[in-house]
């Protein structure tokens, strides 16, 4: 997976890597489908004779307007299937679908089926020989289920059996019915994701649209012959993205087809529990240290924190409460808590919100220990995360390494603290690259704290030249090694405030 992402990264750069925006790209493709769909629907006639001819008219007579819109409508829908499957595959490969994250995975499956139904119903509307084939084939599939007493397929025995109301019904289902469920489905899918990325970056959006327009011009979408219920089309140019089930239904029994459809759905839906993911214990609030600022609520990527009214006699109005079934144990909340500063004299260090297995107290102890072990002339400390490039290999007498669950767990005050303890020359921050944080936003939050754009910010007294951010994924391992060497050489030549270093050695507390 990281190799494929690396290839995309080389072509698109980290900012536009499509692999980081597969969900957002799908939403964007739906927008194209929506706009082009409205355009085509305005000119579409929902009647037996009008349906096919109105589309022929668009493709032949209005080739450069409605014709392109029609092609865009088809191709954006097809492309969405590619992005949905890639999105699914990626979340699976990155193990972002188990544990508490089962929710987005589980709710993704109905969304996938709704998309499939939307595509299938769209092809009915063309009322060409392919529409005829799939209309009959889907009716035969439905007839296997004990829903209708009179077989639905009897509606397509002869042309006289059909009427215009049929098209009004299918158009309603395709244009209003399923889309409403789909929008609702996507909303549910993103319900537990705070600040979800639903828009791809502009460069990617423009590129995708241009590519689809080129395809629409070079290879416009066309219909088959007009439907004729007196004959069976010998061959159809099937859209394999949406209509792949029908050939299978021709050779398998209907029971087997439904078993496959339900089997695959149920298999995918229960996948997050096989095996159950062992997650570290979730965040815990220490109300006596919580001042109700709400920063953890703001930073939590999974909407797992709620600020509630305080009942005790504390001077603060609110206190954070963790919803355990939403918490992914990333520790970002501990990093965002203003009480998580290592300068406090308290021992053990208790903060407002913390991780039972990876506490801020332990982080301070670890930082102290690794700093004490440094002995080279030029020394640095590296803070990184467990989901990006490996860091253990850089651990030596000149480089101390601390691996966090997510770099968003690092309070910016630890950078100040490390530098002020006196035995490091620089702090190197790494971890997941922009827009590809394993916990969605942790990396951005830390970068913003360092750049004074997010609270609690790095104190301005920190010499920013001694802090270097270089984010690196597994595929960037070599580059990371180079960046560390480069920073070390930079620090070797950077001596202006060595005197200050000595002076500030004693400063321990800024609580």
């Amino acid at each position: 997976m990281s190799t494929i992402e690396g290839w995309f990264g080389r072509a698109f750069g980290k900012e536009l890597n499509p692999m980081y925006y597969l969900g957002a790209l799908t939403v964007y493709l739906f927008y194209i489908v929506l706009v082009s769909g409205i355009y085509v629907f305005v000119l579409y006639e929902s009647s037996i004779f009008g349906a096919w001819s109105s589309l022929e008219y668009m493709s032949n007579e209005l080739r450069w307007s409605a014709g392109i819109m029609r092609s865009l409508h088809r191709y954006a829908s097809d492309a969405a299937i590619i992005t949905i499957f890639a999105h699914m595959f990626r979340e699976f490969m990155r193990d972002r679908f188990r544990g508490v994250r089962w929710y987005s995975w589980f709710t993704g499956i109905p969304v996938l089926w709704m998309t499939a139904l939307l595509g299938i119903s769209g092809y009915w509307l063309v009322w060409d020989t392919m529409a005829q084939y799939i209309a009959i084939a889907s009716s035969e599939m439905m007839d296997w289920l004990p829903i209708f007493t009179e077989p639905m397929a009897r509606n397509f025995l002869t042309s006289e059996d059909m009427n215009d109301r049929f098209f009004t019904l299918i158009a309603f289902i395709h244009v209003i019915g399923i889309p409403i469920f789909l929008v609702f489905g996507v909303w549910i899918h993103l319900f537990r994701i705070s600040r979800s990325t639903i828009n791809p970056p502009r460069g990617l959006a423009i590129g995708t649209l241009l590519a689809l327009v080129v395809l629409s011009i070079v290879y416009p979408a066309v219909s088959h012959e007009q439907a004729n219920l007196d004959t069976i089309p010998a061959s159809v140019n099937l859209d394999w993205f949406y209509l792949n089930i029908f050939p299978l239904a021709d050779s398998w029994s209907m029971g087997a087809i439904w078993a496959l459809v339900w089997g695959v759905s149920v298999f995918l839906m229960i996948l997050p529990w096989f095996p159950i993911k062992k997650q570290p214990p979730v965040a815990v609030v220490f109300p006596e240290e919580c001042n109700g600022c709400g920063q953890c609520e703001d930073d939590c990527p999974y909407s797992a924190i709620e600020m509630v009214k305080r009942e005790d006699d504390s001077p603060y109005d609110e206190v954070a409460v963790v919803q355990a079934d939403h918490c992914v144990s990333c520790g970002i909340c501990a990093g965002s808590c203003p009480s998580s500063t290592p300068f406090r004299k308290m021992d053990p260090l208790v903060t407002g919100i913390d991780m039972p297995d990876d506490s801020i107290h332990a982080l301070r102890n670890d930082t102290n220990t690794v700093l004490e072990n440094l002995s080279e002339d030029t020394r640095m400390i590296v803070y990184g995360c467990a989901h990006a490039a490996n860091l253990d290999q850089y651990n030596n007498s000149g480089t101390a390494v601390i691996t966090l669950p997510c770099t968003g767990m690092l309070p910016a005050s630890f950078i100040d603290y490390s530098l002020r303890r006196g035995n490091v020359d620089g702090v190197f921050i790494t971890g997941c690259v922009d827009n590809n944080c394993h916990f969605r936003h942790g990396n951005n939050w830390l970068d913003e704290r360092i750049d004074h754009e997010r609270k609690p910010a790095l104190r301005s007294r920190v010499d920013r030249n001694r802090v270097h951010i270089f984010r690196a994924e597994t595929s960037d391992q070599k580059k990371l090694g180079g960046a560390l060497d480069e920073f070390r050489s930079y620090l070797e030549g950077y001596k202006p405030d060595t005197v200050e270093k000595e002076e500030t050695k004693e400063v321990e507390n800024h609580d």
């Binding site: 995309f8 080389r10 072509a11 698109f12 750069g13 499509p18 088809r74 191709y75 097809d78 492309a79 590619i82 084939y133 035969e140 007839d143 007493t149 009179e150 077989p151 397929a153 009897r154 025995l157 002869t158 590129g207 995708t208 241009l210 590519a211 689809l212 080129v214 395809l215 070079v218 290879y219 979408a221 219920l229 007196d230 004959t231 069976i232 089309p233 010998a234 061959s235 159809v236 140019n237 099937l238 859209d239 394999w240 993205f241 050939p247 021709d250």
Partner: protein, 167 residues
């Protein structure tokens, strides 16, 4: 700055993306039926005769009933199964007993069946029985049909006129 290699790289990816989208959106072609075959669809919706005898009530019997329930003839709810046979050039291609729908089997009988046959001319015979109380077939029909490749022949039953229809 975007480099030339990136432009090429992106063009390759976008190219592959639209090539895959365009190709799979209409190819490979799928053969629904072999080019020299035709299709016979046998499908009907017919309400068969009751599965038991109707009883005519005597005036005395009627008198004992509340006024709103005085039906002169009482029939059983359950209906007979349909029995249907289709023969093509003397060869039986379909032979089926169809149960009436509904929990009490008191609704119409429905069926839907497709048979592929090579294109050509055929002698077609259809027979149907819709009552278990009588012997023999209640409806029969015979036709000579010409089926071109890809033709669909529908065998249905017109309950109103009590006859087979071939479309």
């Amino acid at each position: 700055m975007i480099k030339a290699t990136q432009i090429i790289g992106q063009s390759v990816f976008y190219g592959l993306f639209i090539a895959a989208t365009g190709y799979l959106s209409a190819s490979p072609a799928y053969q629904v039926i072999e080019p020299d075959m035709a299709l016979v669809k046998i499908s009907m919706a017919h309400t068969s005769k009751p599965a038991g005898k109707c009883i005519t009530q005597t005036p005395e019997q009627l008198e004992k009933l509340p006024p709103n329930m005085r039906l002169p003839v009482v029939c059983p709810r359950e209906r007979s199964p349909l029995y249907l046979e289709v023969e093509l050039d003397g060869k039986m291609i379909y032979q089926e007993s169809i149960l009436p729908a509904g929990i009490n089997h008191d609704s119409a009988c429905y069926n839907y069946h497709k048979i592929k046959v090579p294109a050509g001319s055929y002698n077609l015979k259809t027979r149907m029985r819709d009552s278990i109380l009588t012997e023999g077939f209640d409806y029969t029909a015979e036709r000579n049909v010409e089926l071109a490749a890809s033709d669909i022949l529908v065998i249905d039953f017109d309950s109103k006129h009590q006859e087979f229809i071939f479309e």
